[in-house]
Symmetry: C3
Subunit: 272 residues, 3 copies
Amino acid sequence: MVVQGLCSKKLKALITLTTDFGTADWFVGVMKGVITGIAPQTQVTDLTHAVPAGDVRAGAFVLAAAYRFFPRGTIHVVVVDPGVGSQRKAIVVQTRNYRFIGPDNGVLSWALRQEKITAVRSIENTRYFLQPVSRTFHGRDVFAPVAAHLSAGILLARLGPAQADFIRLPWNAARREKNSIRGEIVYIDRFGNCITNIEDAMLARLGTQRALEVLRGRKRLCPVADYYQAVPAGQPVAVSGSSGFLEIAVNRSHAASILRLRIGDPIKVRCR
Amino acid sequence: MVVQGLCSKKLKALITLTTDFGTADWFVGVMKGVITGIAPQTQVTDLTHAVPAGDVRAGAFVLAAAYRFFPRGTIHVVVVDPGVGSQRKAIVVQTRNYRFIGPDNGVLSWALRQEKITAVRSIENTRYFLQPVSRTFHGRDVFAPVAAHLSAGILLARLGPAQADFIRLPWNAARREKNSIRGEIVYIDRFGNCITNIEDAMLARLGTQRALEVLRGRKRLCPVADYYQAVPAGQPVAVSGSSGFLEIAVNRSHAASILRLRIGDPIKVRCR
Amino acid sequence: MVVQGLCSKKLKALITLTTDFGTADWFVGVMKGVITGIAPQTQVTDLTHAVPAGDVRAGAFVLAAAYRFFPRGTIHVVVVDPGVGSQRKAIVVQTRNYRFIGPDNGVLSWALRQEKITAVRSIENTRYFLQPVSRTFHGRDVFAPVAAHLSAGILLARLGPAQADFIRLPWNAARREKNSIRGEIVYIDRFGNCITNIEDAMLARLGTQRALEVLRGRKRLCPVADYYQAVPAGQPVAVSGSSGFLEIAVNRSHAASILRLRIGDPIKVRCR
């Protein structure tokens, strides 16, 4: 039914954007304009622009949860950059499958924990920037044009000198105890589902899913189950979420509001 | 002024997305990543991701109002799926002009009322899913990859067995009475305009537009007119809206707030 | 790492959309559907759809701040159109580098102040409209199809008769006084930064940046500095913003809320 063009089986040059710019202003739009001017055939896909303003940890979590669902070769650009215009560096990190571009403030680091890194460069070559570079909008003047030039084929080494390392955000790993796991809420999504730092693999080692339950303090919060509908509407339940972590949900409702859970809140999983 | 490429006159493979995922998280972004990985030349267009969480009727209305403005061959994917992970089926419905993909919970049914259906298939062939399939995010793991494979050219029959029918949401049709039509509010848009279930054709049979008025209960609410500016700013007016239904608006203001109208509220149109 | 297709070095046909439609409904989606049906290879990029409903001045500011970051040949479509369906005209304005399409209500005029205009046409030829044309949604029925036909190559003259001029919104220019500049807030962005009408060039003629300060009434509001971090977190500062105007910000916070600044508020810059 759909006739496909000549380009059909080719790989597609792809850039993703993750920012705290919101979509109420023109900021994201002009980043796309700059990219298209430099790399006309590159597709730009939004991850989200609703990272809370300046919240580097939230940006890092979004990227870590999402980046690997994009095809090999994708360039991931993240601009959550409260230090824009000051001395913070800008970096590009190449891994076996992707390239990551952003301020060197840790926002890339949780995704990079999962990747095999092959090069780290400081972005310094102003030849690839939009001139004049503003003090306040490096998304438009630095990150968008650099990503576009990379997408169009320039060598990574052209961007600036190799850098030994980059800033890493601490990740509070969940801790296994004798018959339980201690973790915490790390992200709350639009449905109010509360994503924890407890990975599925760790949970599987504790016991079969149906034998587990979640506690807050000393009080039982909910069972662990296969899916939301394992409990009646309005009841809490913990499930293996789509990002590989245990999530606390309320069937057909907003867990964070109903259970008054917030990012950083400690929780515990144990065998019943 | 604009030089067009080789591909210029070709049809474009197109997928639309309608979800209740919001755009604050990465959910929509990764659906696009998955699609591009499978069908690199397919364009993905958002209808909206702001369907109220789990509101199957709102999703059904959005799709019904919008789908026909896309070119022939478009694949419409709708993920408003409060039953995700449970026993609800996933379906693909082919019509003369389009393919529709979504959970079999009625969300496709109001659009399909208007279409000539040529095939209905249950989506069961896990070969076209993203593995492992999560319990909570079939948008990413089932609907996106299936739509992409269809867009890339696989046969519908590969997805699963033919299905005799699908779940249909009841549609409260407006009722013609002697000198009036009884209807109700079915959707409220971003401007506060209140879309009713009274179709233009039905209205035309009642009388010429200028002879009509809208009542709430026994009280006159507003005249029917050609456009918003037929009344002074701040005044209510009913017009033939862009989706083919009578809409109640307030010139330069937000009718739903000012008139306190809500979805489901009954209204009546009669000759003056 | 990324293999590029045949079309790689070609110019890209590009249309930008700026509206007050929001993204909660299907309005923007169907505009894209209509465009793709007519001009399948044209890329559509959103500037923003969050212009406050009917706020022609906000739409004009967004366009003026953003349009020039898109490649030559881009068609900019703006639909902030409180007079839709009434007697207001629709226009297309061609400049040396771009084409602009919108209602003739001034929404294009602040961008056009900066451009060399080569043609102005009234959009009247219904052959290029989507039929039947609704009374309430010219974004879908007039502006989208006309932009798509232009993108696909029709001559501007086909759209309608030449028009001598178009409606211009007044622009309150900042005024230079003896040792100061009087200006006002013209836009507040998502971060709460308050953009003024004081252009960088005007500021530079008043004195070196570090010698300047901003007053509200007779009270000092903040210093002018190079970037946000020149002051401690939570403190106000004025910087040369990315759109070429002085902006009042609060480092790591929301200036408009904290300083209670609103659009139209007068401010003054003077030498310390």
